[in-house]
Symmetry: D2
Subunit: 351 residues, 4 copies
């Protein structure tokens, strides 16, 4: 059990946006010190020269990854890389008794064939898939507390699963009818240069992409299937919206039985009672991404539409916080016996 007075030493692999967000959040975390950030392009540069908001708040200098010595300085390793690169890093860290939170997709699936089918590469360490815990604390808190290796959920899956879990757990919906129409800010695509992230291609624009083929689809289906106790298939459509942060997920399903809005509301409130970060909004209120902007929170709004017999669930998260780095720290808090909300209790940002 972690002694709270000791500072946890965190090492971060990668210097993209999720790394920037880990650094932002950890800069004011009372129990953690970032001891190293690795880079390929910015080696030798102060991290605050790469991410100017860290000016005066971070003394880390980006370093070339030298795994042995890097791991020696860490108690926990955050891996913030594209998928396909995490296995050797996680293995080495675990062997040295370090804890690992992987922000990529490499440990999210229990079935290596699903990973191979959607990510187009064989998994290098299927045995770790069995051990890794899916890091959605509101569903798997106890497993995370005991985990050495946490697979931090994808951003879209976080919003979708939190929105559907109470309904599926309580068998409210016809599982054949689930549609998730999600709208995301651009930071979800990372800092890598791409025409899709060029300001002029995104600004004053709305578009859908990867309809029916996005890699978060099987991740959503895997976890919903666990909850439902049977195989769940969903239509998932991501959209790109001209905001930097935020995912709004509008989720549709046919109500399996006649049910009043008040009953649905009560089931959701009950499900999330006591959660620090998930807020079921009052009846009549709907989420907006600003309200959770920069925070680790998730807002959920519910409309049970009698006219159509459908339940519409809307969830809002910040894709970089609850959808990535905030949740990673929430997981770390649990893994080290800290208060779950430690360092993460700030609000969203309005205006």
């Amino acid at each position: 059990m972690q002694n709270e007075t000791r500072t946890i030493r965190a090492g971060i692999i990668g210097d993209g946006y999720t790394s920037a967000e880990l650094n932002r959040l950890l800069a004011v975390h009372p129990c953690v010190k970032v001891v190293g950030v690795t880079s390929i392009e910015n080696i030798g540069k102060p991290l605050a020269d790469v991410f100017a908001h860290l000016t005066g708040c971070s003394e880390v200098v980006c370093e070339k990854l030298e795994l042995e010595s890097f791991l020696e300085r860490c108690d926990v390793l955050f891996i913030a890389l594209p998928h396909g690169l995490s296995v050797p890093l996680a293995k080495a860290a675990l062997e040295r008794g370090k804890k690992v939170v992987d922000l990529g997709a490499d440990f999210r699936f229990k079935d290596k064939d699903v990973y191979a089918a959607w990510y187009h590469c064989e998994h290098e360490a299927p045995e770790l898939l069995a051990e890794a815990v899916y890091g959605l604390p509101e569903l798997f808190r106890e497993e995370i507390r005991r985990a050495r290796l946490v697979a931090n959920p994808g951003c879209y899956p976080t919003g979708a699963i939190l929105g559907l879990a109470p309904a599926l757990k309580n068998r409210l919906l016809d599982l054949e009818t689930l549609i998730i129409d999600a709208k995301s800010g651009v930071s979800g695509a990372g800092r890598t240069l791409s025409l899709n992230s060029h300001f002029c291609e995104v600004n004053e624009n709305i578009k859908a992409y990867s309809i029916g083929t996005h890699r978060h689809t099987p991740e959503i289906e895997q976890v919903l299937s666990w909850i439902a106790g049977e195989k769940v298939t969903v239509s998932f459509t991501p959209h790109l919206i001209p905001v930097s942060r935020g995912i709004l997920s509008t989720i549709y399903g046919r109500l399996a039985c006649r049910m009043s809005a008040a009953e649905v509301q009560q089931i959701y409130e009950e499900f999330y009672r006591g959660e620090v970060f998930v807020h079921v909004l009052k009846s009549g209120q709907l989420p907006q991404t600003r309200a959770v902007y920069s925070s680790n929170r998730c807002h959920i709004g519910l409309v049970a539409d009698e006219r159509t017999g459908r339940l519409v669930v809307v969830t809002a998260i910040d894709n970089l916080a609850k959808g990535a780095s905030g949740q990673a720290i929430q997981n770390m808090n649990l893994m080290f016996g800290l208060a779950e909300g430690c360092g993460l209790l700030h609000t969203g940002l309005i205006p």
Copy 2:
């Protein structure tokens, strides 16, 4: 039959955004002259002082509505007001032999009870509901050519109906499963001040609103029912997105029978063959609102998802152009025997 060399004199009631857009488009229409714009708040002000983009391009001065004399100067009356105000204006214009395009909701419904139920007011001239033609030229072109009174469609209905018409006409979809998830820019809410249009409330934000209760729902259902030949009910969810213009509609329906993507594609291309303003994108391409920005065009993209058995149709329009004032001018062109595309052939705006 209109003699094209004669200039059509257009009168516009109202000075909100749809009026601004009528003036913008008509400023370069080769066959039309705007002879008057009425106002309540800006009486006596040059319209170019209200809408600075008209500087040097419009000499109209906003005037108090004096119906008799106003109508005398017009060949066609565009009514660009909130709903509930159009009936007396349209009646007077028709009596004087003028043609009318109403951009509001007052003549869109055939059933006055539907109007009353969703708009919370009794219709003052149900007899005109029978005469009015629903101004979606791609579906009702011949009726519009002969019409005296055209009810210009709502912005959301334009995007939704154009997206579903070929599928419903060809019975591709299970009518119980239709969901329209639409994302709109802010100009759709008009120029009237409201916290919902405050920059800081919209910027860097995404939200859904009026889930299951938006007034465009019955309008969509009415027209889809005509096309399908039976009563159609839809789930319609509008969202507010931080752009000034543009509606992206993501439309879901279960395919009624097994059907390849190529077959669906062919049906849509066939349906819209020869249309000036509706473009069915090639297989694999998806619409984006920028591509139709400021233009009267509609882009349609199709994904037939074998894994889920669903068809996903995505349409993009500019809510002020094809979704309002552009379409109104397209209707006017038809009513006056002009080429349908006259004055409207410019492209969208990238970047």
Copy 3:
């Protein structure tokens, strides 16, 4: 001397954006509890229903101002109202031994005639003008520590004065040549409805306003005159930019003598050495508003242009944080003997 273990009870007058920001920041301040927020339009409503980001983070219910009982519950009063309303509130608070931070303009001027000339109203309590301390801690820290009444600076003046203070203190510039070209986000105009804040009027737009006549001009000139020891006149041009938060001030002045960039850099670094919130960027770096977004920090960049003989100083602040509510809390920290950075040490927000 404040005993840090006692919680400071803060009362906030007003429920606009600066009040929202006070509540956001104080929600995670370890030594302060917000005991009341007054409102006119939202009386009886939970503040979290007005500002959804406070959901789960604030239990305050908006209340009608009843001054006596309100003051009884407070140790400090934050007045977050438009100018012209603060005098009776501040007087009553001071009489009851409370401390006051006024976020409006009513106590910023030493000369009541300047206030009257620019704000077009007589000052109701000129005697308080003498007592009030101008709440820019980097310049007036000791006075603030001892103050009962702090006049929190305007947003534009904060960015302008911090940018010019080292230069004027060190007589680097020809005082006849000072030009401040400032660009602000929309939240600076508050939450009140106005066409100037309508999303569609601001989005994809840049404009200047109030050239030569903005009320922050005399405030800037007053403080710069104190620093320079002689009367300073400036050209000040504010611009409205489509962002929610942030002020970038680009400041021009002719160098009074030949001086290398390195010398200027050193003078600025020296001036702000040890400051928690003001960061002079390295030579070659320029500020950006994102880097201070949501934070109480100010970034300063310097270009001494030999070709033109001008010094260009660029400063970035968040108008709601260092430009208003963050600085108000920084002042409160000083007034109550807390660490100056208490509750304010988080970074800006990239991306």
Copy 4:
């Protein structure tokens, strides 16, 4: 003299944003047909697949540049490339009797040493510098009419020079005091990928860049010197603003003599009397970039500030239209004897 009934065949070198804009504008130009667009990355692709707004409006397929055959098909060559590449293209075109409008910087300077100093490369054809006409029609209309080779002005210079020309022509300003503080949208940086154009780096952000060192500085100074009849030096500071299009230039100069606002206003109105595209706004009005968005227009607003003795001129243009491709077409119109406004008379875009 051009016979207007003959269609001008335009060839465009390059497929970046200025090329897209040329294609957008020429798609509705009554006298021009685009006969070819060259590319490096998109060879063989329909241009409408690269720029979706051209769907249904362009049948051009991007082609590899084969100069001989390309030129054969053209009457006019638009070169829309980065600087340094235009000389051989222009030479070859001129040799074949074609007219050339170069949108880059390669022919803008009369002094090859200035070009070499600021663009860091020797000029390959200094003899063409003498022939090339600086394509700002409001100043050099007659020369453009007779030109074979037009150097289309930079975007910033267009806004700056149009704002200062009347003042300098009339010796209103102390030439030692000129400061141009310009704010630009992102499309000015082109479509090439760069972190500076990444949505998340630009959105919700304001920053200055290249202070005192931007390459448009000597271009502005060259033309202002021509107008003033003596060497002019300016401070020029560009800023990046989160909009796709638009440049607002805020220009400062000390009035050389006491002069009323009305007198200045009259001088400007007189200077631009009869211009199709330059509008001097009424006293009290200030420009905004939206008002000229997507149009070839320039709005100018004037404030003569008695308090400071300064004249503040504000100009607004669309950097891609009047600041690049629109002006290029305006030049082409002049070179081919067309009406100057042909195909360019549409308004800006509000909202």
